[in-house]
Symmetry: C2
Subunit: 342 residues, 2 copies
């Protein structure tokens, strides 16, 4: 019998492999596997469903992640997927598996963060499962949201000529991770050394307490802009751009100088002698929205300082290209986070 290693397929290859034969059976299943969330029809109003699993040692390190932040983030990363469908989150379910290492007080802290996120975003925790694990902390969240049927935005509908937009700024969460990993290493080697993270609160905050862009989804709605495609940036801008290009059958041209990068991120990146642009392109966990709009919506978009136009959609043959500040063209490749990388 042959044996194929999961890492040979990679995360998306594996998902494709496992789900490629699905045929939806119910008329109410409008969108299934393959986008940020699934869509279920309910007489005009549609329910949007998404789910994420977070595993200790794989997705988070409790050496530097406060449990309250972890609870908050576990919810927010799912809500981000709902907003990325141009929907409003309404409910979540939460399942956790915990080993005897964790006390009730520890779980209280975790749930404090969960409930803080629920309150901030107006969602209800409506179910879940609580069980013991043999090792570590395991979290699974499913989020549901509501959308108007003809306003749901997929990844597969970008059109040549559309403008490519991102919300907020990029790369900070990855640089925050580098700082925390460095401090952990120092601590393990010399426990008496106090961590010095005070000047890096911006990048660290972006990693530990990300926000879902409810404000952007509401702005688009209020401005009567329906993006032609949208997804959230969890694995890195490059990776997500390639998703939209391949799903929509288009190419893209991105201008390096247009990439929104916070001053704090640039300064922090230089301390690690890494290129802020590389962080913006390949760093994951920013949870900003990446979306495309029709050119005629450009004027409306400029009213929101939290949105940057970074390029435009081209025909598929042109590929995905980055035009650098120096005038060079590079082909964009996915170097974002891969769940099955060794």
């Amino acid at each position: 019998m042959s044996r194929t290693e999961i890492k040979e397929l990679g995360e998306f290859g594996l998902i494709h492999h496992l789900t490629k034969n699905i045929e939806l059976q119910n008329a109410s299943s409008i969108v299934g596997v393959g986008d940020d969330a699934a869509v279920i029809d309910h007489f005009g109003k549609q329910t949007v469903v998404t789910t994420d699993m977070l595993i200790e040692g794989v997705h988070f390190d409790l050496a530097y992640t406060p449990l309250k932040h972890l609870g908050y983030k576990s919810v927010v990363v799912n809500l981000s997927d709902i907003y990325a469908m141009n929907a409003a989150p309404t409910q979540i379910t939460l399942s956790i598996g915990v080993s005897s290492r964790f006390s009730v007080e520890a779980l209280d802290e975790f749930y404090e963060g969960v409930y803080a996120a629920c309150e901030e975003y107006g969602v209800d925790l409506i179910g879940g499962d609580t069980c013991s694990s043999q090792k570590g902390f395991i979290i699974s969240v499913t989020a549901l949201g509501e959308a108007i049927a003809d306003k749901v935005v997929l990844r597969s509908t970008a059109q040549k000529g559309d403008l490519i937009c991102v919300s907020g700024d990029l790369g900070a969460a990855y640089i925050g991770l580098l700082f925390l990993e460095r401090e952990k290493k120092i601590y393990l080697e010399s426990p008496q050394v106090q961590p010095d993270l005070e000047n890096e609160s911006y990048v660290i905050g972006r990693l530990l307490k990300p926000r879902a862009r409810k404000d952007i989804q509401e702005f688009l709605d209020d401005s009567a802009i329906v993006p032609t495609s949208m997804m959230d940036i969890s694995d890195g801008l490059s990776s997500e751009l390639l998703h939209i290009c391949s799903k929509s059958g288009v190419g893209c041209l991105i201008y390096e100088e247009k990439l929104p990068i916070a001053e704090a991120s640039k300064n922090a990146a230089y301390k690690f002698q890494i290129d802020p642009t590389a962080c913006a392109l390949s760093g994951g966990e920013d949870y900003e929205l990446l979306f495309t709009i029709r050119q005629e919506d450009y004027e409306k978009i400029t009213l929101n300082e939290q949105i940057s136009v970074i390029g435009y959609v081209t025909e598929a043959e042109k590929g995905a290209t980055l035009l650098t500040k120096g005038g060079n063209s590079y082909t964009i490749t996915a170097q974002g986070w891969n769940a099955f990388k060794p």
Copy 2:
């Protein structure tokens, strides 16, 4: 700082502890934490949501659980919760965490079982997450279903005088587990001994390939019977009876002689010198439906041989009582499966 061990609270105590302060925020959140599934309103038709996490070494042992059966069962146990709401399942999401110990072929087998269950019950797999785990196999399924608003059946609405019914037969899955655990022990001690399970295919099948009682939910619907309360039996009949009693503020009287136990289960139990009644009361994972009906529905219920009337609902003061074949009364206590028992 004080430290409370999770096992001090137990599973349900912990869930209560973690969720007791929830206030639902959305008008569409009809039922939240505390029943088999959550209910979300959608203009008359309601969406029912439930979720379960299964962890290797805690919920299943791959030494004697074929991956295909595991995939099938992971779906079915969630669908069982949907039927227990008197709803019809329509969609699931599935997240898995797997270590490098598992190959793609192994996951294929698992998904074969998942898809077999989806096809058999007519549900769509509409999303999920696939990630690596540090250790073992982790499964999280969320199931969605549809119900007519005024036909959703909760655990909290049993009334004094109602008849208590169960579907199918009880205790078999637990006895099947005993056999498999015994064979595993023999195998570990003497790998050359071939397992002899042929005569126990009924009880082992009940453990490894449970069914969700779609047929019972459809029979109730076709017969215009709306149970006054209902839940599925995953932790054992005693435990579930006590849930219905405490949630509904009632007591119950159960007749030992009415408990449905298959001949194969009785014979298998005697081989272990254990009481089949104890297995029926405390053995988990049968996934039968436990429900209460109005007395006037009794005639209709007798038309279905798969349904047994095992007792009736009393006032709360009478407690939960088992009347034995010998004429003795025992107070029913929960000895079902507890996720946090050491």
